[in-house]
Symmetry: C2
Subunit: 353 residues, 2 copies
């Protein structure tokens, strides 16, 4: 693959110049405000970018699944992993134990059942496993519901052989910065009153990443999307189209009517993720076009007037949600502008366990 | 992997007993009504099931992408492929030419541009390529818009060196059986009046598969979903839960509130496909539960009353859309009831080109 025009479609392109600038910019923001950056690698699933993020100053990486962590540390360069997921079941606990021997590891828990499982797996480990309490600050997914419950679970962790209490963690709702601050101040006070120092308070989420400093009690921030950005973040005013490092290159395969064209990218590349938006992505340079419908291998472009496209034309699309698009393909094409660097294998693609 | 309880989650399970029954039942229906069955393999992407479908009596298989066809014929047992996609661009046309040397191949076209590309690639081929005209019978995706346009494109195909006109093809809208019949009767009449016999009329779509005989002009039917079935087809009355061969096995990782539980399957297994439904799947045996929210690795179960689940419990989910779920994982687990047959590699997973 030597020329941009030779890239076969659909293809997921990653502009490394843009990604590197995104990594530097958010790292500088974290450094300015004095909190640690712990990027979520679910967005790119590429060891080379995990190493880039770490080299730029990240304190470590965040993974959702053990298999993601295994893939990210295989090449070296990453030595600190937070798994923001309740690890449940004997198969995964055995893998977690093995992972702890290879990297500085911390995990989360939001219930006594999860703590008991972790404790059983690490009771005879050479070093205790660091466990943060996951707190629900309004997203209503996982997490203990109150600061008092956070303190109680922290005490349970600290009392469990093989485990040590490592702090508090939350995945807040969009716009939840103030709620994070309030919850964490109260939970920290309760923990400290119970004799447990809170060494780390981890929050995250891309939509509010530039407001992270408004919850000053937070000591580390997790965001994945910042490395690529996407339409959901542009539409929320978090970044610009020029900051979007991941695009999908597609070819027009049909223009059945003047106001309609069909491209060779459907849900099996762009996915059906809407994130509250209308339509399925943004065609760069063509704000008049809407991707109004996707089937598995077709995307439909419509316009109020003529689409002005011909069979064989190519378009570049900023997807609604970049994190899920990386996961659809075995490799992305690294580019710098229109210069091609080559394919990058998405090492942790499909690593759901 | 020896026991059902040892399957690590999330896992995509395929019950081969159910799949085999589904294949037999629809084949018997096609045989009864005297049309050919040409299953779409995008649903399973498994050579073993393509061979099963062919052995059961299918006239060949349908693929959307060249790479799917390459993966399906690699093991043998499949000798006839229809590619229901406009093939555009030199890289794909070269692969199409190579594919034509390995299998009985037909493709579609809906424009002069596509026909010209195919003709250039096959002008010096030992045998002409069979090209069907894709017709828009109301789905407004690809396809020529009128029977007269179908006739005109058929003449263009027949006049192109390296190509031969092979018939008409459509992907109709749901409920479009009568529209298919009307369009195809008119188009066939026009083609025959122009001296072009229409040897094959191909329609498809899972929602109307049991009504295929209501468009008696159709000579072959394409459906993918029938091999597995899914929630979208149960909700439309096309099949029952017991006919659903593909399920997602997931583990409860959190029960943060009495009316809420969280499982380890999110959009990276179940996908965000809604197909017009509310919620993200059906929990077998628990019609009181709703999967009201997915993030990438979490699924949220809610109920009006207590969810009655504990951390570590497992649930089996019939997804909204089975075809996209197969594509999320490198392998599925073949089962017969609760007996495990073993993993099956999803050979054509992620084959988007």
């Amino acid at each position: 693959m030597t020329a941009f025009a030779d890239i076969d479609t659909p293809a997921v392109l990653v502009d490394l110049d843009v990604a590197e600038a995104n990594v530097s910019r958010f790292q500088a923001y974290c450094d300015l405000h004095g909190f640690r950056n712990r990027p979520h690698i679910k967005t790119h699933k590429l060891p080379v970018l995990a190493k880039l993020q770490t080299a730029a100053g990240a304190a470590g990486i965040t993974c959702q699944k053990i298999s993601e962590a295994e893939a990210m540390i295989a090449e070296g360069g990453v030595t600190d992993v937070l798994l923001t997921y309740n690890i449940v079941g004997s198969a995964k606990l055995a893998r977690l134990r093995a992972l702890a021997g290879r990297v500085r590891l911390s995990v989360v828990a939001d219930s006594g059942e999860v703590v008991k499982g972790l404790g059983a797996a690490f009771a005879d480990a050479p070093d205790p496993l660091t466990v943060l309490v996951e707190c629900d600050t309004g997203a209503h997914r996982c997490g203990v519901a109150s600061p008092a419950a956070a303190r109680d679970l922290a005490l349970e962790i600290e009392a469990t052989d093989g485990l040590r209490f490592g702090g508090l963690m939350t995945y807040p709702p969009v716009g939840g910065t103030a709620a994070v601050q309030a919850f964490m101040v109260e939970a920290t006070g309760l923990c400290e009153a119970a004799g447990l120092p809170v060494e780390r308070i981890s929050s995250g989420g891309a939509p509010d990443m530039w407001r992270a400093h408004e919850a000053p009690i937070v000591t580390e921030y997790r965001t994945g999307t910042y490395v690529y950005n996407d339409r959901s973040l542009v539409e929320r005013g978090v970044c610009t189209w020029a900051d979007c490092a991941l695009t999908v290159l597609a070819t027009v395969v049909s223009v059945p009517a003047p106001d309609r064209a069909v491209i060779d990218a459907g849900t099996k590349v762009l996915t059906s993720d809407l994130l509250g938006l209308d339509g399925h992505g943004h065609v760069l340079g063509r704000p008049d076009l809407r991707i109004d419908q996707l089937s598995e291998e077709h995307g439909r472009l419509v316009a109020d007037g003529p689409v002005g496209l011909r069979v064989g034309d190519r378009v570049r699309i900023v997807p609604n949600h970049c994190c899920v698009v990386s996961n659809m393909v075995d490799s992305v094409v690294a580019v710098r502008g229109e210069r091609i660097e080559g394919p990058l294998a998405v090492a942790a693609r499909g690593q759901v366990r």
